[in-house]
Symmetry: D2
Subunit: 348 residues, 4 copies
């Protein structure tokens, strides 16, 4: 079978990682990436010898790339015309314009990230929770980083024991490492409740009642979410741990092993030698799981930069009908991304 | 009636505020404060002209005070022998030694802060939740800052509608402003669950099932706690808001008024002209109150430096039997501390 | 002599403190303050019983004040027509419009803060460095917080021993406490050199060659500046300390006393019982003074929220010719603001 | 020629990177690493399939490694007896004990990191500044991260134009990413001057007069140092830039390219795909270089986790007399570490 040909629009924090993720999928081919300006991300690509071909979106000034000596392969249309599906990680709002002006006319499928409005897509997608709904669709929108990680754990409990209700508290990292555009200094900031991640969860999993509160914190390495979940039956600590321990995209963390918080998890990814120190799995603390009467409560860390990459790969598989079922699709994605090895080794 | 004579041991973050709180109670007299070394807090007292008399605890080197020119009134025993009750805010563990070696032999009552073990006291005390248990007792221990604020809101709902269960998430400020001994840099840190504040709540309110998770964050101005509470009856958003809006030690905050987070609340205290910018009330965001099925969820901010002061004044009232009931005691404390004026003005 | 009548435009971080500063000057009268919206600062004023009269600037929606119950005294023109001089701490750029459209037509003097362009004023002013230049002028512009504090120390050395050249490093706090509009998370940020504070110093003190580098840091309590100064003669550590120790607006700090950094200085202001915990003096570490060959190097902390208030009071004195000389003017300001008492007590 | 056999003691932040650095040197062989407990760093090694052999230091509990399934190759003595030279990155103070008890009896050379006292070694070493002094020595001590980076730039100017005097301001990151043992929250902290880095510079370069001030800041990604240098002749901005632009271990940064501060530099390392996102070069901002009369001033960023690795490799070359001159040694190290490619591509 021919490899699925994939392009990436927007080579920022997410776009860089989408490109790397596609490059690892042996049944896909990364045709190239498109961007606007010779950002540090593009300069870093150049310093590495241009492993990915670069295309320029409309309005880009090619002379700025020439000044540095960065080679350009072609225009955005050259890229789009040469792929089966685009992964669009453009700034929020640009994705919709791209869909209308470029992808639809070119007859090319696309997957959008969480910054776009839901209306951009046929399906609001999560690889584990609703893979089958994405099959053969032209336009998918991925859940945001927090929602992606959250749904992994709720879907995990739901399939094992049934979940009726969740109340979440999101302790949000306010900016990514190196992001100078957003910031918060010595302050916690609260948002209007309910937080959109709870609303989004209900869109994907309409049989669950979800609400929650979000508080921004001045850190860069990973959101922490606490979940109070009410099951169809009482879910004990042991039952929860057993279910989580089987999910390939959830690592079980223990404080006594050294996982003291989100920064330990970030450091671990770096020490693993992962590119950029990224982690695809969420981390879930065994030490955090407690029973609240009939409810079960737990806390997880969401490595926000990379957590949506696996589910986006699943999305390509669904939209292009590469696999029939969520089991086949997610396990293929996992294999190519190296997810799950930690469990074979008895780690987490 | 003669004024109750009060001394303060340990003039740190809490001790300074206890002294100020007592000084405002017209039916109490602050006899003096005791400390060990000419800290910045003591130097600031000296720069203000020694409004409070200073006594030295055992082991203090008086020559260090003489060098600066700070006048010393007497020894710790001089202070203890001259009071009805001591407020002990010494470093953790010292309170127990003081009790055994000094307060008991001298026949003086004492109130300890949250850092001491529960065993130090006859009653683990909260002005609103169990005032009557403290009546005539010799030794009380106050709840910690988080627990004090948390119980205000849970007790408030409990008395109005009945509460059976709470699951809390504490987003903890890791250090006070100016504290160079503790710190956390670009990291969230998780503790073993259940967090002690939930356990402490159950000690004070044994009819409620409580659990929770605590995450430390690198900020200095106020903890934020989210609470998921299950009532004996369904508590709606309107019911919760109505109950909270009547509690003198709870301010209702609105994001649209400018209360964006804990730092806004701290700034507001400073702009009010309060000494040190302190706030005695917890802030509770109207924007945070959401229903989770039959449960009610909300978020509050705990101004950690001053929040326990009112309940400690209540404790003096209980131990010395100054008032018979919680209503009388708390309203007297509130009057002298200026608590509640905001509500008369229609603010929060 | 009749009191000088003063108004304040813009009741933000600086405007609040300007109003308090004027209210303390016994030879001035604070007629009122003007603002746009019922901000938290205005609500705090209301909660305190409106110690200052409130006037509304053009475009303000009075109904928003009525909703809260905040009394309004009149319009901005009502205020301007009733004063001798306005202190304008409006958002950057608004001051110039106010000057052209309001102050000049009304024949009212004004002092602008550092956010306005130099062209707004007749003189770029510093109470200690060029008081006499401000005499009888209609429009003054104050130096910014960093420049104000920096010039205090450089002018101090210059008058004592002669200074020819300074090279400064500004370690800037990125936002004020409670400021949610600016931020920086786990990052240092560097600006194009030379930093404007060095350029501004040369405008005020043209006989000195100044340059420097500024780095923003994610803290809220006070800038730290290091200075490498080259004197007309060699300035030893002892000579520098002697000069600094005589300046009423410079406190000498010692690490061993507990002044470990900018946060200790902020805490000390709070513990002094100063309104909002403000400090008018800069702090200069004795521990930081070192000789670099013939140069002298030292570090100071700038309490950015309040440091410009004394020099602004000096500015009123100059513009309204209340005193003839810098010595008379600054000592009068100091007396009313309580500056210098620390030295009489042998503190710093 | 046989490869030089190298061992690493202490697999922490520095030890991990030393091991990786040695593994890249084609004329060296990494025999193994030694540590005490199954830390996250060791678990990460295990998850990667044990690319480096693990030896246990005395006192380690092997059963803890067995529990996880981490294979152990042998004892610390097994490692030491099998190498030509040890790189000791044990906790401060342990290095000296290792030297006396283990390395000297075994007749094995060793290089210590900045945490040890100078007395531990025959030479206080920097690859560029005093390579020849290290030739054939048995024990070297490397300069600390700040000093290593600082000396690169001062030595660079010194060799080009002669330097007589430097006054430095170190804006220090207070903890490494993931370090939960140290911290600082919303505070700058000042140290007693002169800072040890200036003193250390004078030990290595005794012909230069150096002093300076250090301020700790609550960030994790790289120190920033400003330098005011006085040359034997006037060094202009152009002269300084020309010299810096030829040094392989100095990258020239421009704010307009996106290098806004230390966090951009850290992010760039991650985007380059470097292991752990590490950078071996210091970054020096062209935008920061200014003339201060006859002096030259500039600012650089020190990527603290990896910056000493190249100079440690140089140290092995000196101690084992692998190359005769600094030019040969540093260029060999650079070649194997991939340092300098950025310049061939016209980047920095």
């Amino acid at each position: 079978m021919a490899k699925i040909r994939v392009g990436v629009a927007g080579y920022g924090t997410i776009g860089q990682r989408l490109a790397d993720g596609v490059a690892k999928q042996e049944d896909m081919e990364l045709v190239g990436i498109a961007d606007m300006a010779p950002t540090l991300a593009i300069r870093a690509l150049y310093e590495q010898g241009m492993p990915y071909d670069l295309y320029l979106v409309d309005g880009a000034d090619k002379s700025k790339f020439d000044e540095v000596g960065i080679p350009v392969k072609g225009s955005f249309m050259d890229l789009v015309n040469n792929v089966d599906i685009m992964l669009d990680s453009s700034p929020a709002g640009v994705g919709l314009k791209n869909k209308i002006n470029i992808y639809e006319p070119a007859g090319v499928k696309a997957i959008f990230q969480g910054g776009e409005k839901n209306e951009v897509a046929d399906v609001f997608f999560h690889g584990y929770a609703n893979y089958e709904k994405g099959l053969d669709k032209n336009y998918l929108k991925l859940t945001s980083c927090n929602t992606t990680g959250l749904i992994r754990t709720v879907d995990c409990l739901d399939r094992a024991y049934g979940v009726e209700k969740v109340a979440i508290t999101i302790i949000r990292r306010v900016a990514d490492p190196g992001d100078y555009n957003r910031g918060l200094t010595n302050a916690l900031k609260i948002d209007q409740a309910p937080t959109h991640q709870a609303v989004d969860l209900m869109t994907i999993m309409p049989h669950i009642d979800a609400t929650g509160i979000l508080v921004h914190t001045p850190v860069t390495h990973g959101h922490i979410i606490t979940v109070v979940a009410h099951g169809k039956q009482k879910i004990t600590k042991e039952m929860a741990l057993e279910a989580f321990s089987k999910h390939p995209r959830i690592r079980i963390l223990r404080i006594e092993d050294g996982f003291q918080g989100n920064a330990s998890y970030f450091k671990y990814g770096r020490d693993l030698g992962h590119k950029r120190g990224d982690m695809y799995e969420v981390g879930l603390w065994e030490n955090s799981i407690v029973e609240s009467g009939d409810d079960i409560m737990y806390a997880m860390v969401i490595p926000q930069e990379a957590v949506t990459i696996p589910e986006t790969m699943d999305g390509i598989r669904a939209a292009c009908h590469m696999q029939e079922t969520r089991e086949e699709a997610t396990s293929t994605t996992n294999k190519y991304l190296g997810i799950g090895k930690f469990r074979e080794l008895g780690l987490g």
